[in-house]
Symmetry: C2
Subunit: 342 residues, 2 copies
């Protein structure tokens, strides 16, 4: 019961199919792989693999194609993440190192990842709720309105304009006082801690400014909580339409799904959280129907966290070079974390 050889056959099928995108038959398999057995034997193995639901035949007299379960087994047990070449690594480092600000980091990362993997790259903006406060700035913007600017340690900036119910344009002193109190209490804290930390500030503030302080605190809490409507950035969507890619009719609905940023965030977020449960740099893979969101069930997603602040990954057809994608995602995540937090 050469179980090992059967898995070897599965691996060969996955590799060939990923490379050629055509159903692979017993004969073709033998030409490309030295399995040391005859075509008939391979056929027997294939029959078993098909019975186990790991491969399937599009029609009677075609070759076999891996199923989602087949890819899953391949990813879990038959593949090793192939490390990137030294040249690739330095290229990544250099390209990302040239970024000038946060937007640029995100934009470069996605473009890099999509060109490395030839898939669609997805990156979540550094998440506020896990990052810390670098500074809070208060700016009177005419009349009774105050602009509240929250700057996180990742370089991300959130701003809110609030009506504080009092004209502050002449009262630089009161604004400066409140600014220093708030910064004293909040700088260095997790964004999620903002409401708690500001409670004490509210008590200490002169009674005249109480109303103002409350408005500002509310705005800050709101800005920190805006986390749930996180932004996500894509690159390489054209890769989905490349000739030789397998999206017969579903291309349009996949593209549609990609514009549902909320869904992508949940996906990337959920998967990368899962991965972080295991080893530090674990990469999570979600294949076809494993995917909770229906329009994306013809695709696979490879994702991971970068640092502690966000997730990134690639999305493509289930017929994907998983080892390569996983390696690229892991390496890029590593460098991004270094740049953002190092």
């Amino acid at each position: 019961m050469s179980d090992d050889r059967r898995l070897e056959v599965l691996r060969a099928i996955v590799q060939d199919y990923v490379k050629t995108s055509e159903p692979v038959g017993s004969k073709a398999l033998l030409e490309r792989h030295r399995l040391g057995v005859s075509a008939a034997t391979v056929r027997n193995d294939m029959a078993v693999l098909e019975e186990e639901g790991l491969i399937t035949a599009p029609h009677t007299s075609a070759g076999r194609v891996p199923t989602d379960a087949g890819y899953r087994l391949f990813v879990d047990r038959l593949s090793t993440v192939k490390p990137l070449s030294r040249a690739e690594r330095t290229a990544i480092e250099q390209f990302l190192g040239g970024a000038v600000d946060l937007d640029d980091v995100v934009s470069r990362t996605t473009r890099l990842l999509s060109s490395l993997t030839q898939q669609v790259a997805v990156m979540q903006y550094p998440s506020l709720s896990r990052s810390t406060v670098r500074h809070v700035e208060l700016v009177p913007v005419g009349g009774t309105r105050l602009m509240v600017v929250l700057i996180a340690n990742t370089g991300r900036v959130e701003q809110r304009v609030v009506d504080v119910g009092r004209d502050l344009s002449g009262d630089e002193l009161a604004v400066a006082d409140l600014r220093s109190r708030i910064n004293g209490a909040a700088v260095g804290q997790l964004l999620s801690m903002i409401p708690a930390r500001l409670a004490s500030v509210l008590d200490a503030v002169p009674v005249d400014d109480r109303r103002v302080a409350e408005s500002v605190a509310a705005a800050l809490a709101d800005a920190a909580a805006a986390d749930t409507e996180e932004r996500v950035v894509l690159a390489g969507t054209a890769n989905l339409a490349r000739v030789g890619t397998d999206f017969p009719t579903s291309l349009s609905s996949v593209l549609d799904a990609l514009e549902e940023h909320v869904v992508l965030l949940r996906l990337i977020g959920g998967m990368s959280t899962l991965a972080s449960g295991e080893a530090g740099d674990a990469v999570a893979v979600s294949i076809g129907h494993e995917n909770p969101y229906e329009p994306l069930q013809t695709t696979s997603v490879v994702a991971t966290r970068y640092g502690v602040v966000g997730g990134l990954g690639v999305l493509g057809p289930t017929r994907m070079d998983y080892p390569q994608a996983m390696a690229a995602v892991r390496a890029v995540a590593h460098y991004v974390a270094e740049i953002l937090e190092g």
Copy 2:
């Protein structure tokens, strides 16, 4: 020489082809339009139109399809921008009115425009160089580094961190002084005026802080000039892949082109500038080969400025409902300008 009727035939061809996406023949044309003449006459007219390069036949015995020149003539002389319905207008107003910040305005605008027109929507972020300074903020961020935050009247925020060569952490006073000088000189000015306005500030600053002021001025100038690498936002790319749309093989290269944001910016910017030369709310149309960027020569772009700060528009196949697209673009631009500047 019924020149008028010939144009009427052209209009009918454009309208039918846009609706059905199939080459339109003389007979089919008569069924849908009351031209008051026979099929043979229409055929003669078609022959003339073809000779003039306004329509073309995919092959000998198929119907006719408008050429780029045909669409051009249609847009210039045969179509009137059909006003949106009252319901549509209030829907636009309500949807855009619900936006909470600048990002949200841009995101809602593009999604709205793409769903109104069933095309790809493109919007340039409000451009800094034409907007004015609302406030400049200086924030010491440890050691000798200072974060310079530039807030524009459109709500857009640019930030730079500079090394000022001197430890300012203890010297709140010097920072406050510089901050008020800069704001005094720059607030309300066009961003492009920043370097000029700050020149006087540099002279007036105490000699000890000269170096600091220079660094800050440079950072601000840089932030203002970052305009050239403007951002652009897309929505509705899935519309390109809709079944019934005409992108046989070029889809992938069009999607690729859409990721070249620099190109899109030049396109939208150039076109809308052109339009603003004419009437205030003019909408510019670029059809197929009129387009300077080769991969987009199978597409048309309908664009305009919103207010004075940026451009927006839609992109789709040359077979596009121009009157409808122009109406939608114009209406949306109008409301966006109101929200951003009103």
